[in-house]
């Protein structure tokens, strides 16, 4: 058995301690002031130190108690879902709402176990029409609808 007996506690402990460390290190340049005249560095530094302590407790616990392993069946949904959101973010302004919607729906559909091209294509077209009608014309959100080179604004 390895040294780390509770991987979930160990991982989260490192995560929290890491965030705490970042807060303390980056916050070191902010003037802390005194308790009576608190500077902008006081509160974040206190929080950072608390986080480091809590993280250390979790790491310590992970060596003493046994816990279940982290379940990682597949990384595909993580990559595909967030990748398609990223794609939407990068394309919505240059390409407009219609194309960005089609891209997002098609790309994200791939993450499903039961992905079918035909169905996903139909869904993307229907959703694109729906969002243009509702968000573009109905609620008049400030979104370009068509690509810039086709005169979208």
């Amino acid at each position: 058995m390895s040294l780390i007996r509770n991987p979930k506690d160990f991982g989260s402990g490192c995560l929290f301690a890491g965030f705490g460390l970042v807060a303390v290190v980056l916050g070191a340049t902010y003037p802390a002031g005194t308790a009576a005249r608190m500077g902008p560095g006081y509160f974040p530094r206190a929080l950072g130190i608390i986080l480091i302590v809590l993280g250390a407790i979790l790491i310590f616990k992970s060596l003493r108690t046994t816990g279940a392993r982290i379940s990682l069946p597949t990384l595909k949904p993580l990559v595909v879902v967030l990748g398609s959101v990223l794609l939407f973010g990068l394309t919505v302004v240059p390409l407009g709402l219609v194309l960005a919607t089609v891209l997002l729906v098609l790309a994200s559909s791939v993450a499903s176990h039961e992905f079918r091209w035909k169905e996903a294509t139909i869904a993307s077209v229907v959703l694109a029409a729906f969002v243009v009608a509702v968000f573009g014309y109905g609620l008049k959100l400030q979104l370009p609808i068509l690509p810039a080179f086709l005169g979208g604004n």
């Binding site: 989260s12 965030f19 902010y30 929080l47």
Partner: protein, 502 residues
């Protein structure tokens, strides 16, 4: 009678065509997302926040509130018919509701859930109307020290609600507080933790955090497992209850309503806690506890009434103290801030039409929900047949558009991806995200009140212990912590959440 006059004012506001319309949209959307597993009220309200820019504040809050309590109704439908909690607070309903459905009594289970929820909703509306004004008056006496201690109490109480490790839950709160203060410091104008990015000088958007942690992470985790649903579509059966059944369920409804109303007010309380407590109570009081888990009507009636009552009375801390008791209420704070309303005790006096209109609309919304859920049950059952592979791209799309339109800014969409990754990591490490969200909204408030309290006391930290109200709240927070740490309670708490997971 002040109460009657106030309620009359409220109904005057709530019964305008526009507000009835938005209440209807709210409860309709709430039922919809309640029925659909895999998307909760937090993500939905976050998604719709930008749209409320265009609405009048009263209509906006009426709609968002409708989503929250509407989700409590809708969630029970999925719990009973599919054995999946459509909404987290209906996990308890799965236990006996699904068993009733398997025994051909799905109709009665749905009916008692709706009736119970309606009775609870009506009563809780009255509780909010009766208790909010005196509490708000009381809260006007609060100084910064009291507010700080109250927030400590609220955050500690939120830990009770989080499942799993206590240390992790506290760490999530602290991390939330830390993320909350990112941006320009109001006192010094200094940019904190912005990495020189101009878009971050106003801080990270609340919607961005909520959407990443709740919306995206949930979808990703759902997709990691193959879906399997068994719907009792053709076997809903008769909805009408016999008098004997109603008589059996009524005491459970009343107890659930009472319990839910009380637990909802407590910081950290709300729908989920209420439902659990009500189920445990019914099981303890039952003459034949072995019936529970095998389709006991009381096991459906109690928790369903409790979760709806708790959902509504959790508006009390928000409306009177300006302190959100749970993640959904934290979003309501964000909604109020969008419309330049500072949540707190002064809302009632400065915006009486908003305050009483919102309360009156809750009762109207509950009435609509009974109609939406009972005669139209067939429609929701059909919706349950929409496969997840078609559903989640649509949810993602609405999330993206919602985040973008918040500030017409691509940067926010990219930030959501970051929080999506973080949310996924939290799921893998079994860290409940709700406390982080609460900490996030309270971060700036807490720092501000800590600063002011210590400025007034000239740096003397005993100010938190010498003022009686402040001391009382800190003692309460300490007791809560102690209770959770004590082994006996810890065990039952773990069991309760274990039951939830099963």
């Amino acid at each position: 009678m002040d109460l009657l006059a106030n309620l009359a004012l409220g109904f005057q506001v709530a019964l305008t065509f526009q507000n009835i319309f938005y209440a209807f949209i709210g409860v309709l959307l709430g039922t919809l997302i309640g029925v659909l597993p895999g998307i909760g009220p937090v993500a939905t309200i976050a998604m719709l926040l930008p749209i409320t820019y265009a609405l009048r504040p009263t209509s906006a809050l009426i709609m968002l509130a409708g989503i929250y309590y509407g989700a409590q109704y809708g969630g029970s439908t999925t719990a009973i018919l599919v054995n999946l909690p459509g909404e987290s607070s209906s996990v308890v309903t799965c236990l006996d509701g699904y068993q009733m459905a398997r025994r051909g009594r799905a109709g009665q289970a749905l009916a008692i859930a709706a009736i119970g929820s309606f009775i609870a909703g009506t009563f809780a509306t009255l509780v909010v109307a009766a208790f909010a004004p005196p509490l708000a008056e009381f809260a006007l006496k609060f100084g910064p020290a009291e507010y700080f201690s109250l927030m400590v109490l609220g955050l500690i109480a939120a830990v009770v609600l989080a499942s799993g490790s206590l240390v992790k839950a506290i760490a999530m709160i602290v991390l939330g507080l830390l993320l909350g203060i990112i941006g320009t410091d109001v006192n010094s104008g200094l940019q904190r933790f912005t990495f020189g990015v101009a878009e971050m000088s106003d801080g990270i958007g609340f919607v961005v955090v909520a959407m990443g942690l709740f919306g995206f992470a949930e979808i990703i985790v759902n997709l990691e497992h193959k879906e399997h649903r068994e719907v009792f579509t053709d076997k809903v059966g008769r909805l009408r209850l016999s008098w004997a059944e109603f008589k059996e369920a009524l005491p459970a409804i009343l107890r659930g309503t009472g319990l839910g109303s009380v637990l909802g007010i407590l910081p950290g309380g709300g729908a989920l806690l209420s439902a659990f407590a009500a189920y445990t109570l019914e099981k303890k009081l039952a003459k034949d506890p072995s019936q529970f888990g095998k389709g006991a009507i009381r096991g459906v009636a109690g928790p369903e009434s409790a979760n709806n009552a708790g959902a509504q009375t959790s508006f009390i801390p928000l409306l009177t103290l300006g302190i959100p008791p749970n993640a959904v209420m934290a979003l309501m704070v964000a909604a109020m801030m969008i419309h330049n309303i500072q949540p707190g005790p002064q809302v009632m006096t400065s915006n009486p039409t908003l305050f009483w209109g919102l309360i009156a609309s809750m009762w109207i919304g509950n009435l609509m929900l009974v109609v939406l859920n009972l005669p139209m049950i067939g429609l929701w059952v059909k919706l349950l047949r929409v496969p997840y592979r078609l559903l989640y791209p649509a949810i993602l799309l609405f999330c993206c558009i919602g985040v973008y339109s918040l500030q017409n800014n691509v940067f926010d969409v990219l930030m959501t991806v970051v929080f999506g990754v973080l949310g996924w990591v939290f799921v893998k490490f079994e860290c409940e995200p709700a406390p982080l969200l609460l900490g996030f909204i309270l971060g700036p408030l807490m720092e501000e009140n800590l600063r002011r309290a210590l400025l007034l006391s000239r740096g003397d930290p005993t100010v938190f212990f010498t003022r009686p109200l402040s001391l009382g709240m800190l003692v309460a927070a300490g007791l809560l912590l102690l209770i959770i740490v004590l082994p006996a309670v810890r065990k039952t708490r773990e069991e309760a959440f274990h039951e939830e997971a099963a």
